[in-house]
C-alpha cells in the first residue's frame, strides 16, 4: 500500500505550518523525513493520522489506497487509524499507558479492530513481543511498562503499533530519547520489520546518521516545504539543494545531526 501526500497545506491558528508538501511512501520502503525544528516534519506525520490540534485547517490530499484521509469523516478515520496506519512516538516513557499491562495494551487494540477472541489475541500478543525481540514474552506480557527499560518500552510501543497489522507506520523521532547502543537495536528492528512485513515506513528524524542507516529515500524539509527528495545515497553524498548541502556541512565531526527543538 502506498501513502501519497500531495500539496499538503496545514495552518494552525493563523500560522501556515505546511505550505504544500509532496511525499510518497511505498510498501517495503523506509522514507526518511529530515528537518530542523519548525520545518513541519512532525506536523506532517500528525496530519496523516488526523492528530492535528483543534482548529487546524488543511488543504491538499493524503491518499492511502485510493482514499483521501483528509476528506474522511471522523468515524471512518478512526477505523483506519490503528488498523491501517499506526504511529510510534518519541518518548517511550509516555507513549504507553502506565496502569495497564503490556498484554492488555496489545490485545485491546486487536480485539477492537480485528475482533479476535481473547485466547487468540493473547497468542498474537506473544508473537508480537517475540517479533520485537522482547525476552521471555510469556512473562513480559503480564508486566507493566515501568518494569521495562527505555529501549524495551520502545520495542513494546512498536509492537502495539503493529498489533492490528497496519500497512503504514509513522515513526516520529523513535530513537532520539534512547542511548546510542539501544538506538542501534531499534533501528535494526525497524528495518527488519519493514523488510519482513512490507510496511511503508515514514521515519521523521533530525539525525542524518539515523537516516543514512535505515532510509531508502530521504526528503528534506524547510519552512513547511520539501526542498529536496531522492534516494538516500544520492541526497546524502551529492545533495542538489543548497539547504541540504549547508546542513550536511554545518555539523560537528562526521556525525550529522540537524538542529532540532530545544527540549
Amino acid at each position: 500500500m502506498t501513502l501519497t501526500i500531495s500539496g499538503l497545506k496545514v495552518s494552525i491558528r493563523e500560522a501556515e505550518i505546511l505550505r504544500g508538501v509532496d511525499l510518497t511512501v511505498s510498501a517495503g520502503h523506509v522514507h526518511g523525513l529530515a528537518g530542523e525544528s519548525g520545518s513541519g516534519k512532525t506536523v506532517t506525520g500528525l496530519a496523516v493520522l488526523g492528530l492535528l490540534p483543534h482548529g487546524s485547517r488543511t488543504a491538499g490530499t493524503i491518499d492511502l489506497a485510493g482514499r483521501d484521509l483528509l476528506a474522511m469523516p471522523a468515524k471512518q478515520l478512526n477505523a483506519v487509524r490503528g488498523a491501517e496506519i499506526a504511529m510510534v512516538f518519541q518518548d517511550p516513557a509516555t507513549s504507553l499507558h502506565p496502569m495497564v499491562t503490556v498484554g492488555v495494551q496489545l490485545t485491546e487494540h486487536m480485539r477492537h479492530h480485528i475482533g479476535v477472541g481473547r485466547k487468540e489475541a493473547r497468542e498474537r500478543a506473544l508473537g508480537l513481543l517475540a517479533k520485537v525481540r522482547i525476552p521471555s514474552p510469556e512473562t513480559a506480557v503480564d508486566r507493566y511498562p515501568h518494569q521495562f527499560s527505555g529501549g524495551m518500552r520502545q520495542r513494546i510501543a512498536i509492537a502495539v503499533a503493529l498489533a492490528c497489522e497496519p500497512k503504514v507506520l509513522i515513526a516520529d523521532e523513535p530513537t532520539t530519547a534512547l542511548d546510542v547502543t539501544v538506538q542501534a537495536g531499534i533501528l535494526r528492528l525497524l528495518r527488519g520489520l519493514c523488510d519482513d512485513l512490507g510496511l511503508a515506513v515514514l521515519l521523521v528524524t533530525h539525525d542524518l546518521g539515523v537516516m543514512s542507516a535505515v532510509a531508502d529515500e530521504v526528503s528534506v524539509m524547510k519552512d513547511g516545504l520539501v526542498v529536496e527528495t531522492g534516494p538516500r545515497g544520492q541526497v546524502l553524498t551529492e545533495p542538489r539543494h543548497a539547504y541540504t548541502r549547508a546542513l550536511l556541512e554545518s555539523l560537528p565531526g562526521d556525525d550529522h545531526k540537524l538542529p532540532q527543538e530545544e527540549r
Binding site: S149, G151, V180, T181, A184, A213, V214, R232, Q234, P259
Partner: protein, 304 residues
Amino acid sequence: MTLLTIDDLVVEHRTPGRPLVRAVAGASLTVAAGEVVGLVGESGCGKSTLARAVCGLHPAAAGTITVGGHPVTSLGLRSRHRALTGAQMVFQDPYASLNPRRRVGAQIADGLRTADDRTTAPEDLLERVGLPRDFAERFPHEFSGGQRQRIAIARALAARPSLLIGDEPISALDASAQAHVARLMRDLAVESGAGLLFISHDLSVVRLIADRIAVMYLGKIVETGPTAEVWADPKHPYTRALLGAIPIPDGRGVLPTELPGDVPDPADPPSGCRFHPRCPLVMDVCLDREPEFGPVACWLHKPA
C-alpha cells in the same frame, strides 16, 4: 598540575525498600590544569553521580576525591569551605539552573563575590560568554535554553574555579547550539587555566572538545586515553560497541552494530567483569575476576 584526583570512588544510593545500589563502584580519574576530560557513558552508568560527588553533592562511601589539593567534603548546612568553591558545576537543565526571581546580573555577581573579585563586572562575564552586556538587567525567563546555559557558565566562571564540571550541559540544547556551547566551555576553562570535566552521553561532541576520554559502564571506568587514540582504536569491547553503534551519515545504508542484551541492574551487577554477559570476546577469567586496573579495564589488555 593535577587539579582533580578521584581515587577508587564509591558512591552508594539507597532507596527505601530496595537493595543498596553502588552508582559508582570504584572509579579513578584525574584532570590536570588546562585539560579537558570527557566522561562518556550511557544512561545509568553513574557518570552524573560521579560529577555530583566531585562537588560534594553526594557523599563518598569509599575512596577519595581531591580538588586542588583539598579533600572534598559533602555539602552540609554550613557555607562551603573556600577552598572547595574551586569546583563549580554547570547542570543539565537550563530551565532549572537559574533562579527565576532574580536578575541575571545579580546571579553572576554571586560568583564574583565567591572569588572576592571586586574589579570584574557581571557584564564583562556576559561578554565573555558571547551575550550582550545589557542582558544583566533581565530575568532568566526572557532567554532561550542556550542563552541560559551561557549565563550559568558565566556564573560558574565568575567564581574563578580551578575545576569546571559540566554535567550533560548541552544535552537539552539545540543541536547546533550544542557544539558552540561545548567549545565555549572548553575555551573559557582552558584560557583561565582551569580543568574541565565534561560529562555527556553524546560522543561526537565530546570528541570535539576533549583531550582525554574516559568511558563508564555500570559504575566503573572501563577505558581512558587520549581522545584521538580511543576514537581511532578503541580497546575495551564496550568502547568498541559504543563507537560502532553511532550511525554515520555516509549514505551507504549501513546499520550500526547492535549490542545485545540490556544494561544489568546496578543493584545486582554481574560477577567478575561487569560487561561479561554482553561481551563478544568473553573469556573464563572474565566471569570470576573483575579487572581492577587501567587504562583499559579488560583482561584482554592487562598491562604486563
